[in-house]
Symmetry: D2
Subunit: 435 residues, 4 copies
Amino acid sequence: MIPRYTPDDFAELWSASTRYAAWLSVELAACEVMEADGRVPAGTAAKIRSLNLQLDPMRIEEIEKTTRHDVIAFLTHVEELAGAPARFLHLGMTSSDVLDTSLALLLVRATDKLIERCDRYIDALAKRASEYEKTPMIGRSHGIHAEPVTFGVVLAGHLAEAKRGRTRLSAARREIAVGKLAGAVGTYAHLTPEIERKTLASLGLEPETVSTQVVARDRHASLFFAMASVAAGIERLATNLRHWQRTEVREAEERFQKGQKGSSAMPHKRNPILSENLCGLARVVRAAVPAALENIALWHERDISHSSVERMFVPDITTTLAFMLDRAAGMVDGLVVYPEAMKHNLDQSGGLFFSEAVMLAMIQKGRPRQKAYELVQQSAMKAFHGEGAFLDNLLADPAVIEVLSEAEVRRCFDLDHALAHASFIVQRSLAAKEG
Amino acid sequence: MIPRYTPDDFAELWSASTRYAAWLSVELAACEVMEADGRVPAGTAAKIRSLNLQLDPMRIEEIEKTTRHDVIAFLTHVEELAGAPARFLHLGMTSSDVLDTSLALLLVRATDKLIERCDRYIDALAKRASEYEKTPMIGRSHGIHAEPVTFGVVLAGHLAEAKRGRTRLSAARREIAVGKLAGAVGTYAHLTPEIERKTLASLGLEPETVSTQVVARDRHASLFFAMASVAAGIERLATNLRHWQRTEVREAEERFQKGQKGSSAMPHKRNPILSENLCGLARVVRAAVPAALENIALWHERDISHSSVERMFVPDITTTLAFMLDRAAGMVDGLVVYPEAMKHNLDQSGGLFFSEAVMLAMIQKGRPRQKAYELVQQSAMKAFHGEGAFLDNLLADPAVIEVLSEAEVRRCFDLDHALAHASFIVQRSLAAKEG
Amino acid sequence: MIPRYTPDDFAELWSASTRYAAWLSVELAACEVMEADGRVPAGTAAKIRSLNLQLDPMRIEEIEKTTRHDVIAFLTHVEELAGAPARFLHLGMTSSDVLDTSLALLLVRATDKLIERCDRYIDALAKRASEYEKTPMIGRSHGIHAEPVTFGVVLAGHLAEAKRGRTRLSAARREIAVGKLAGAVGTYAHLTPEIERKTLASLGLEPETVSTQVVARDRHASLFFAMASVAAGIERLATNLRHWQRTEVREAEERFQKGQKGSSAMPHKRNPILSENLCGLARVVRAAVPAALENIALWHERDISHSSVERMFVPDITTTLAFMLDRAAGMVDGLVVYPEAMKHNLDQSGGLFFSEAVMLAMIQKGRPRQKAYELVQQSAMKAFHGEGAFLDNLLADPAVIEVLSEAEVRRCFDLDHALAHASFIVQRSLAAKEG
Amino acid sequence: MIPRYTPDDFAELWSASTRYAAWLSVELAACEVMEADGRVPAGTAAKIRSLNLQLDPMRIEEIEKTTRHDVIAFLTHVEELAGAPARFLHLGMTSSDVLDTSLALLLVRATDKLIERCDRYIDALAKRASEYEKTPMIGRSHGIHAEPVTFGVVLAGHLAEAKRGRTRLSAARREIAVGKLAGAVGTYAHLTPEIERKTLASLGLEPETVSTQVVARDRHASLFFAMASVAAGIERLATNLRHWQRTEVREAEERFQKGQKGSSAMPHKRNPILSENLCGLARVVRAAVPAALENIALWHERDISHSSVERMFVPDITTTLAFMLDRAAGMVDGLVVYPEAMKHNLDQSGGLFFSEAVMLAMIQKGRPRQKAYELVQQSAMKAFHGEGAFLDNLLADPAVIEVLSEAEVRRCFDLDHALAHASFIVQRSLAAKEG
C-alpha cells in the first residue's frame, strides 16, 4: 500500500482504526451470544456499545510494546476505556478467534469492493464492445496480420475474461467468509459450536469446518489466486492496448489528459503509461500467490509464520487490485479508438487474409489440401514480397484459374462474409453470466 | 514427468499416441457435423473410422522436421494412411481448433483422474479420522504444547481441506472443459457457431464464449492453481507427519516396509521420506502457477509463448499431483499411530494446558482477566521450570484458593470436558460436502 | 513497508524527501560536469547549492497532478524555489537519467545498510558458534536422531551460509552501482559518454555498458535474488530454532522478555514467534524475485511496467530484509541454550547412533557390508522397540562377538571420537571469507 | 526434459548411466584416497577400475524396489559385478557424500556446457552488433517512436546483458563446484577433512565449509537464479524480435526455412515462433527459482524434501536453458534484417524525434525550459495530428523564429549528430568483460 496506488476506501479499510473496530465487533457479537447462554451477565455488550468507545490505535501499540501480544494489548485498552464490563469480553476465546474472524470480516468487505469495481470494469467493457461490435480490424496471431475481426469481438473477449475473474472472486468470497470461535486449538474447550454458529451468523460468516487455532489458509490462497487471475486479465487488455497504441499501429490509445506531458525530453510523445503501469502491477499481484500457498502448511494446530505475510500482502494486494480495476475501467471508458486506422491497417494486407477462403474453395472443388495450400502460398508469397497484389496474382495463375472461375475467386474476398458472426459473438459475451 | 513419479495411466495419457488419437477424434467429430451440414461428403468420417488408423508418432515427427508445423504434419500423415477422404478433414479449421479442443479433452481426462484419486485420499482420511475420533493428543501451537485435541480432529482438519481441494478441482474442470472450433481468429470465418456447438457437445465440451485463435488461458491457470492448492494441503499433512515421526515425538509414523533401509550408514533409522518427498513435490506443483498466470496475457489474437510452458508443465504437474495423491492416500492408509505415545506426550505437560480453564474459572468468580492471568502464570511458570506440579502449585497458592475451592480447581483438570466436542467436529467434517 | 517491520533508517531512506534529495544531487552533479564542459554557465550548481533548497514533497505531488510526470513536477518545483539557474538543470537529459541514477544511489545505500546488518548477524553467529564449539547435541536427519554433532558446528553452518549471502549482496551491490546519463534512448544524443562518466564517478557509480532509456533490469533482479538468498538462510536458522524450542525438544529458545505474554489463553506458553515471523517474511522477500525477473524484458528502449513493481517492492523488500537481519541478529545474541537438554536428548538414543561405527568395525574385520549392516540392524531394532540397550544387545549377539571383541565393541561407543573434528569445522567456518 | 527441447548432450548428461557412472567415480576417488590412508587395502580401486564395470540402471532400480534406498541399491549392484573388493567402497561414508558430490560433478559439467553455449550466443550477438553498428532505426520507449538509435546499439545492449548472464553463470559454477565427504551429519565421524579434501581435489571440487548431511542448498539456488537471469535476457531479445517482426514494423525477422509453413490456414504468414517459444521457456526457467529458494531451509542436518524438486528441475531447467541458448544463438545468426524498413519507419515520424534538440537549442538561447517545451509541443502536436510537417510548423511559428534562426532550427534535424556516439557504445559493449 503506497499512497500512489491506494484508493481512499482501501486506505480506510486497512487502517488501524478499522482493524480494532472489527476486533471489537467480534468481541461484542460473541459477548451477546454468551449473554443468551448465561455465561456472561446480561447487558454486558449493550453497556459497552452504549459507551461508543473511541479506541486509540496509538495507545494499543504502546501497550503492545510491553505485552508483545496485540490482542492482549487491545483488550487491556478496552478495559481502560470500558471498565468492569470489559472483563467479560473474550471469555473462553483465544486471540485467533478474534483475529481470524475479523480478518474474514475485512476480507469479505475488501472482496465486495473488488467485485463492485469488477462490475464497473465489466460494464465499461460491455459498453465499448457493443459500440464497436461491427468495426473491422485485422486480427493478429504472433503479431502478424491474420484474418479480420471486429474491435467489438476483441473487447468482448476481454469482457468474457473479466466475467470469469468476477466469478472467481465470488467463489473466493464464499471461501473466506468463514470465521471461528473454537478456542486455542479448535476444540471448543471453553466454548461451544452453538456459540460459534450464532456469533458468526450475526456477523454474516460461516464457521470453519475444522479449525485449528486458526481458519485454514487454503481459503486465503484461493482469494489471492482469484485476485491474480483478475489482474492477469487486466494485464492482457493492457498489453493489447500497448500494441494498439504503438506508433506504427495507432488503432486505439489511452485518453491523454490536458496538461499531461508524455516525456520530459520529447514533447510530442503520447505513451500508454497507464497500461504499462497495469502490466507491472499484475506482476505484483501475481507475486503474492506462491507466498499465499506457502502459508497453507502451518505446523500442527498453527504457527504464526503466515501472519507477517498477511500483514503485508493482504492490504497490499487487495488494494493494488482495487486500484487496477479503477484504472482499467477508466482506461476502457476513455479509450480513444481510431476505426479509420483499423481500416487502414486492414487494407495494408492486400487481402492476403482471404487466402484461407481461396484455399477452402479449391479444396471444395476437389483439390487436395496440400496442393491448394501450395497454390495459394505462391500467390501470397509473391504479394508479400511486393510482386503484384494477391488477388491479381491468383487471377493470373493458370493453375488457380483451372480450378476456380474469376467470380469464384473474387467471392472469396468478402469482408462482410468473414465477419458475419461478429455480432453473435459479442452478444454471447454480453449475455454470458460467467464469461 | 520422470518415471519415478509417473503413474502408469498418466504415462499413457500424455503419450504421443494418446495426443494424436485425441487430435483425430476432434477432426472426426467436426467432420461428422460438417457432413450433416453438407460441407463434407456424407460418410467421410465413417470411412476413416472404419480404417481404424494406426497413427505413427515417429512418422509425424519426421514430417514435422520439414513442415515445422505439428498439425500440418499430423494431417499429412493421416492423408498418407487414409487417402482421399482425409482431405475433407480440418475444413475451415485452424490448428488451434484441433489443439485446444484436444487439450481440453485431455485435461478433462486428467482432472477426472485427479478427482478420482482425491476421492481415494479423502476416503483414507475419513476412515482414519473416524478411527481416532476420540484419541487424545496434545494440540500444539508454535510447536509448543497448547491444549488437548484428538488425533481424529486433526485428521478431520486435513479431510476438510482435501474436500475443499476437490471442490476447486471440480470447479477448474468446468473451466477447462471448453473447446473451440472458431477458426484462425475466433470469428467462424469458415465455420459456424452451430458446427462448433455440435462438435464440442459430441466431445463433452462447451464452446469458448469468445475465442481468439485459442481458448483463453485464464481457464488453464485456474486448473494449475486448483492443483497447487491440493498439493499444499498434502504438504500440510506431510509436514505434520514429519513432526509426529520425530524421535522426540514419535506419535505416528509412515509404514516402514520389510526390507526397506532407512540409511546406508545408520541401520536403525526410520525416516519419514514419503512425507518429505511430498513436501518437495508440493513446491514443484506450486512453481507452475506463476508461469500459468504469465501465460494469460497472450498478444492480440494469440501468440504461441504459452505452448512451451504447457508442453512441459501440463504433463509434469498433472502427473506429479496424481503421484502425490496416490502416495498421500497410501501414507494415510498405512499410517502407524501410537496412541500411547500421544498419551505420554500429553501427560508430560503436567496439566499445564488446563491453565486456561483455571483462569476462566477465576474470571467467572469475578476476578479481572489480567489478575487471573497473572495468578495462573505464576503457578504455571514454576511448574514449567521444574518447581512442583502445576495443580499442586495452584492448590498451594493462597491467592488462588481465596478464589476457587480445591474441588473447583480440580474440576478444571478434566480431559473429557476439554474434548467434549471432538466427535461433533469429526462428524461435521465427515458430513461436509465441500470441506 | 509497514511500520511494524520498518527500521527507522529505512523509513528515512525511502521517504519522499530522500528521494527528491537524491534527484537533486544527480541534477547538480551533472550540472557541475556540464559547467566544466561549457554547456552550462559556470557557477550554476554552486548557486543552487548555496540556496540549500528545502524541497517540499507535497508541492511536487500537487504539481504532478497536472503534469502527470514526476520529474517534470520536480523540476518545476526546483525552478519555483531556485529561479533562473534552475533552467540549466536536466539539460539534454531524460527523466530516466535522473531516476535510474538516483535509484542506483539509493539502492547502493540500502545495500550497504544490508551488508552492515549482515555483518552484525555474522558476528552474532560467530560468537555463539565459538561458544558452543564443543557442546554435543544429537544431529538429526529427517527429524530423526542420527549421529552426534555439536551445537557450535550447527551454528557454524548457519554462519557459513550467512557469509555466502553477504558475498552475494556484495556482488549485487557492484551490479546495481550503475547509473546512466545517456538521454532518451541511450545514445547520448544531447550528452556525451564523458559527461556521463564524470557525473557518475562523482556519485560513486559506473556507467551502464549499453543503456536503453534505462539501466538494464537484470541488475536489479540480481539484487532481489541476493536478498532472497539471505532471507532463505535466515529462514533455515529460524526453522531450526522452531524445532529446538518444541516442547519435546527444548534444546534452545528465543529470549522471552519480561512482561511478554505467550498466549492470551495459555499463560505458560513460550512460543518461538520471532522465528516464525522470520519464516513468513522470507516468503515475502522470496515473492519479489519472479516479479524482478519479469521486469527484465522491457520493450524496445524501455517501457515503464517495471516502475510500479519497483515502487512497491524496492522499499518493501530492502526494508523487510533489514528488519529480518536485525531480528535474526538479536535472536542469535539472545538465544537461550540448554546444553543439559541437548545432553539429555542425545542420551535418549541409547547410543544407537554408534551403529555405524560398529558396522564399520565389522567391515574392517572383513565382513561384507550388507552382512554387517544386518547384524547391526538387528540389535538396533530391538533397542528401538524397547528390547534391551543397543550396546547390551550387541554384546549378547554371538554373531557380533564372533567378529568383534567386547573391548572393540565398546570402543565404538565413543562420543569424543565422534566429535573429534568439530573444532576444525567451526574454525574453518570462522576463518572463511565467503562461507 | 521433453525430447522436443532436449539437446543430445543433455539427454546423455542426465541419463541414468551417466548418474551411476558419476557415483562410481566418487566412490573410486574416495577409495583411492583411503588406500593411501591405509583404511582400505591398496589396489582396491585399481582392481575395480580394471573391471571396467558396465553398470545396469535397470538392475539398480530393481534392487531399489526392495531396499527403497538408491545408494544401497547401487552399492549392491556394484558388489554383484565387482565382488569382494566392492565391500571397501563407501567406507565411513553416507549416501549424501556420494549423491551430493556427484551432483556437484554433474552440475559443473552442465554449467560448463551452458557457459560454452552462452559464449556462442555472445559471439553471435557481437557479430551482428558490429554488422549493424551504424544502421539507424527509430528508438522506441513505451512502444512509441522516441529518438533514433542504431540496430547495432540495440544488439549491443543484448550483448552486454548476455555477458552479465555469463558472469553470473561463472559465479554460480564456483558456488556449486563443492562436494562433501563428511559423513552422516557432516562431522567426519568415520572420515577426515583430509580424506575429503584429497578426494574432492581429484574430482575438481572444493569441500563444503560446513556440511550437514548435505551440501548447503543456497548454492544450488544461486545456479537456478543465474540460469533464470540468462533466460530473462533471452526473453528480452525474443520479445523485441517479436516486435520487429510485426506486420506493421517488419524491421527484422526470424529466418524462415524452406518448407516451413506458418499456419495451417494462412499460407502467407511468417510468424516469430522461435521467439515466442523462447519467451515461454523463460517462464519455465524462472518458475524453478522460488522452488530452489524453498529448498534451502532443510530441517536440522537435512531432510530430503529438496530431492524431488531437484530430480525434476535440475535436468529440466539446465536442459531447457541449453536449448534456449542454442535456439537464441541460431536466431541471432539467422536474423533477417531490413535496414530499408528501419529507415522507412524512422522517416515516418517526420523528424518529431528532433524535438528535444530544438527545445535544448531554445533553452541554450535562454528560454525557460517549460516555455521551450510548450513551444516545441505546439508544433509537434500539430504534426502529430496531421497538420503540416514538424519542421515546417516550427519555421512557421513566429515564437520559435524569434528565438532560433531557420539555420539553427534546421541544424537540430541532423541524424548523424544524433547517432554520433553509436559506435562508441557498440565498441564498449564488445570490449566489456562482464557486460
